[in-house]
Symmetry: C2
Subunit: 562 residues, 2 copies
């Protein structure tokens, strides 16, 4: 017959790693069948209960109390196990350097005024408070803790941003700052690839992959898994990209994340373009619009991201000029209006533009693109599929009949905010016998009145009934830039910086990334150990939950206005 | 002062191209400011009205009546224009060979018993009826018409499938069958690339791109834009893939579409894998899980799809063996259970498996993957992120503590339906000091009882505190296959054919794709012209709306049971 016995030690705090070691040691004792050692939060008590380690509900246990429970073969075995807890805890902690341990973050900060980094891995409910204190002390935060409410994340990151500080996290598993890994991190050589990642093991897999390919890492900045949600808006990722743009050590950037929210993707990719450095992008679940867009190189997997980064590093900067013969002038354009006869081409262009233009409108509905209230009136940047039902009912398809397009070219060209009109010209059997004969004069007429740019994507072969060369020639003579596929056109547009609000975060100073790492660790002790193992300077805070983990008392203290 | 005058010609039918030519000719006449020429459907009358070409609502006009309207500078100009309609119609039609014109599809079919193809481009409301008649006559259908209700598409495709026939469409803009373009098509050389496309101009852009790269096209099969919606289920795309798999001329396949519904993607990619030929996949808006998966090669743009297809054609078949050293045995595996400590790795594997495994379950929620009701119990193929909150509350992360994984390995291995257990092993600072020392014995123990396969993705560097080589060695000794990234593991899995229901459509005979094209055209006359221009055999039906376009009469006739 098995017995289950438990014991509560009020106010005794240990971190989860120490408790895990205790649990394993207890299970190794003779006659012990199962064991649990947790801090007494309601969730933890539930887990003990689910594992049949709490025969009856304990009352009066607080989150700051240690609860130890054993299931054993006899009453004696259980009693012996509980008696050995103290000894096991001492044994478990024996390897730790206990030289001197400040009891609070503020005293640690006084002792280590040069420590630019605070690692926080205390339980979620306390984490935001510790992180806020670190920011107030002017330190960057690596916030490993999970279960931090998203509203607290938003507030913390706004605070950090206004102070020119980073909050990596919450739920940030990894970072490599100036050669030192925080949290979980692989040892990789130093080098010229800088990374921003909203995906912990993703960042680890890519840094390890870069190392395996002989390249190295300048900085790897974690953002926490929720940074790219609309509510948070990618604050840390945007700060990270800006940092890497300014960091002279970083020559190639990698951006990796779990599925980001569509609303954030555009802003993120625009910021990536603005770095002016090649950026390898791997956003899991995001369909890249092209293999490459301006300085963005899209990877379909973590492994490919590592490979591309290593390759780009080897490339000489001059060989990175656009593949197409079209060298773009580095000038702004006004609003873009795309007037397409081919739905797929329109959609491909629309998907591509999402990476760098906003606000985008269309008569085609995709994710975060705004559906035009009235397809007959463009707004801001608009991409129209003129072959859609609302345009073709009762009239021939725009691939046969240019009438609708000719009208629309006149309409768009008359809008003074429009800077660029993009057309497709699809040749072949069934299509208009000579589309350029109608489109070219319209382009010429529009350009005679005002300096509006035209670009045309021509799809066809030299075997088509229309003379392909003659069509291209005639459009070019009228003043249109001619591209042979959408990727080429997108590549050209992406290289130019459209007139759009560039919301730059206040810059985070580079110094903490360029000087030797010095960190304060609050929470899981093994994170302190591994920083010391890596030869960096660190101080561990002997942290305990405020008010002994008593939630009501904590609330009262917090209301008394710290 | 301008005047607007209109005229109704009861029962006179012309197709939209002829009417467009008439309209353009009318606008060229002196004094004419605008003109319209449409069949008298309510939608068309609304368009005239919106263009201020119908000062008062016409009553008693039917869809089978011709309506001509002009806006002119004077009463005289308007009257002269309307008087010239007859002459303009004759002029417009003068180029057409009027030798002999059957009045119905059935008489055309009798005249041309060898015509394997019927092109249908009559107005949407009549299109399904004509297509059904073509199927009953045993002919494949190219259905250009749009505005066909999706319910009719479902019925038509079920009928076609049961007869071993194809319905390309509705709203199918292009196809190239045995060298002859249907609808809108570019002239491309014949070759060894076969295409299936649910994207009209997409298919045109890829075929033109293949031609531009010196390669050629065997068949290009359009499916219509809605084929990959869940309701239709990709019937035509699946038939097309099956056809190209069997077609000896086709060596490389390209699959291109506008955004498909997630529920259809898995089935489609599994069918693509089953062809046994290299397949270039470009599904707009679908995030590829890897650059390559088994025989699937993912392209991010239409241009890249063309480039990849041309490249694959040049490759010798033997050089297409897997890049990794792991030659997969061509044997089935049972259910796959993935037990991950890294969330991003788990997600990357899950995204990849969607391309070839179903039913898939997970504790992570993405699109069409089924969320496990109880994460502690796997179902069918399951991929678990053991670092998710539901597993980590109150216990250390599985990257530090193997306890949860060891239990779960025992649990999964005990399930007789499980054939393969997939783990990740993430090394580095912060992680468990020697994960293989705990995982390898568990693998060995499981394999001692039953022939269950193990595979491990190991992320780490040789600088990591754990000995990378030793970790890999130890896992391999225990009997696990070891991969260095998720793409490598996915590649291996994709090359093996999992035990899963292979729903094959009844095969469409190849003969209509291998013999010279002979077609019957019902609808837009220029499609007939271009088939004849291409040197193929065609017959045009002098089609008129049934019952003179009188909808009530049509309904009565149809209820009388034809």
């Amino acid at each position: 017959m098995t017995v289950v016995r438990s014991e509560v030690r009020p106010g005794v705090y240990h971190d989860s790693i120490v408790l895990m070691q205790l649990q394993v040691s207890l299970m190794d004792l003779p006659g012990v069948l199962d064991a649990g050692a947790v801090m007494g939060s309601p969730e933890n008590l539930q887990i003990l209960e689910a594992n049949e380690l709490l025969p009856e509900t304990l009352s009066g246990v607080r989150a700051g109390d240690l609860v130890v429970a054993v299931k054993a073969e006899s009453e004696d075995d259980a009693a012996r196990a509980l008696r050995s807890v103290e000894a096991l805890l001492v044994r478990g902690g024996s390897e730790v350097n206990e030289d001197f341990r400040p009891r609070s973050l503020s005293s640690a900060a006084r002792l280590s005024p040069g420590a630019g980094w605070v690692l926080v891995s205390v339980p979620g409910r306390y984490a935001a408070g510790v992180a806020r204190e670190a920011l107030e002390l002017g330190r960057h935060v690596f916030l490993y803790s999970d279960n931090v409410p998203i509203a607290q994340e938003v507030v913390l990151k706004a605070e950090a941003r206004s102070r020119g500080l980073l909050v990596m996290g919450p739920d940030c598993g990894t970072a490599i700052i100036n050669g030192v890994g925080f949290g979980f991190a692989n040892r990789v050589r130093r080098g010229a690839v800088g990374l921003v990642g909203a995906a912990g093991t993703g960042l680890q897999a890519v840094t390890a992959g870069i190392h395996a390919r002989g390249a190295g890492v300048s900085q790897a900045i974690g953002t926490g898994g929720r940074d790219l949600q609309a509510e948070v808006g990618g604050v840390t990722a945007l700060q990270g990209l800006d940092l890497l743009a300014r960091d002279p050590e970083t020559r190639v950037i990698v951006l990796v994340s779990k599925p980001p929210e569509p609303a954030v993707v555009g802003r993120l990719l625009a910021a990536a373009q603005r770095t002016g450095k090649p950026v390898v992008v791997n956003l899991l679940g995001y369909a890249p619009p092209a293999p490459r867009l301006g300085s963005l190189h899209f990877a379909a997997s973590l492994g490919e991201a590592a490979r591309l980064a290593a390759e780009l590093l080897r490339e000489e900067p001059e060989s990175r000029s656009p593949a197409s013969g079209h060298r773009a002038e580095a000038r702004d354009f006004g609003y873009l209006r795309g007037l397409f006869s081919g739905g797929t081409l329109a959609l491909e262009v629309l998907q591509g533009l999402r990476a760098f233009l906003e606000p985008l409108h269309s008569n085609m509905s995709i994710d975060d693109v705004l559906l035009l209230a009235d397809p007959s009136q463009s707004e801001a940047h608009s991409i129209l599929d003129l072959g859609a039902d609302e345009f073709t009912v009762g009239r021939p398809h725009p691939m046969i009949d240019n009438d609708l397009r000719l009208r629309r070219i006149r309409q768009e060209a008359a809008d003074p905010e429009v800077g660029l009109i993009l057309l497709d010209v699809v040749l072949g059997d069934g299509a208009h016998p000579d589309p350029a004969s109608e489109l070219a004069p319209a382009i010429e007429a529009a350009r005679a009145v005002r300096d509006v740019e035209f670009a045309a994507i021509v799809v066809g072969t030299e075997e088509d009934p229309q003379d392909l060369g003659e069509q291209v020639e005639s459009l070019a003579r009228a003043g249109a830039r001619v591209f042979r596929d959408t990727a080429e056109a997108l590549e050209d547009l992406a290289r130019r910086r459209p007139r759009q609000p560039g919301v730059e975060p206040p810059p985070v100073p580079l110094d903490a990334f360029q000087s030797p790492v010095s960190a304060i660790n609050v929470g899981v002790e093994s994170f302190f150990d591994s920083i010391v193992d890596q030869g960096a300077d660190a101080l561990h805070v002997d942290w305990r939950p405020p008010a002994g983990g008593n939630e009501r008392l904590m609330e009262i203290l917090s209301k008394m206005g710290r």
